[in-house]
Amino acid sequence: MTTRIHPPDTPPPHDPDDERLPCGRLLSQVWADWEEGTADPHRADCADCTSAVAELEQLETAVRRLRDDTENASGYDPAPLTERVMNVVRLELRPGHPLPLGAPDEDMWLMESAAARVLRTAAERVPGVRSGSCRITPEPDRPGRVAISLHILAPTTAPSLPMLADEVRREVGAWADHRLGLEITGIDVHVVGFADEPDDSEKGIAP
């Protein structure tokens, strides 16, 4: 389990569902710091943080055991399932901002991290493109609409970066509409570097 979701550039507002440990730390932050290997002297000495990390270790062990138990099953690859389960867990820890769906009075929302994952996949439908940070922000002056900003690595063989960006924009726009139903005002595509051949083992780049 090495694939990480990429956190937004700025931390999302505090989710009321996020548990605050007795020591005052947010559970999501303690878990994220542990997953990312962030040095934190407090965590090592704090019984609450240690217990919270132990629970996450139990969770990962349980998922790993599930994978190992089924590894020998003929014709069944458990990796996609375990990856999807862990993706859901990570999305709960770092949900991002709520994005509006439908008409404003319908009160329907889609969390940014879930949408960003779909749109990054859409961008990678363009051959050779690898997608990275994807920010989706509600338009303050246009209720119900959002703007998309996506970072990509372009293939070195791309004959024209503007044409490549247009192609990515088309794919992302189509999926934003057909798969999500987001009303978008614009898609900014930032080519932040070049990628070698597509590598399925590692999706995404550092934001």
Binding site: V88, L91, L93, M108, W109, L110, A114, L182
Partner: protein, 109 residues
């Protein structure tokens, strides 16, 4: 009807909506609590909030769901919202008061 009973009923209704994979935050909450109390039942904590202002005002329902990738997210949220409202109306729970329903997709699998 009590908020708890209505919440349990609505949980079944929401789970039956095409395109809804499960109620959220199911995975983290269930697995964390599984180490402490494997007998936990009912909708996951925080996935379905049912309240009523002052105990007698309009029902306020908030559903947090994870949807299936093969379904359009906006359509699933709308169907979920419609299913909740339809039950409230059929049950007479909205008579004279109406209801506020909020649906949020927290993940897509």
């Amino acid at each position: 009807m009590t908020p708890t009973a209505l919440g349990d009923t609505l949980a079944h209704i929401v789970r039956a909506v095409p395109g809804v994979a499960f109620l959220a935050p199911g995975i983290t909450g269930r697995l964390r609590s599984a180490f402490q109390d494997p007998r936990q039942s009912g909708p996951p904590r925080g996935a379905l909030r049912v309240s009523r202002r002052n105990g007698a005002g309009p029902w306020e329902i908030e559903a947090r769901i994870v949807t299936l990738a093969g379904y359009r997210a906006c359509d699933v949220t709308r169907a979920t919202r419609s299913a909740i409202l339809a039950h409230l109306q059929a049950d007479g729970a909205t008579a004279g008061h109406g209801a506020a329903v909020k649906v949020t997709i927290t993940g897509i699998v």
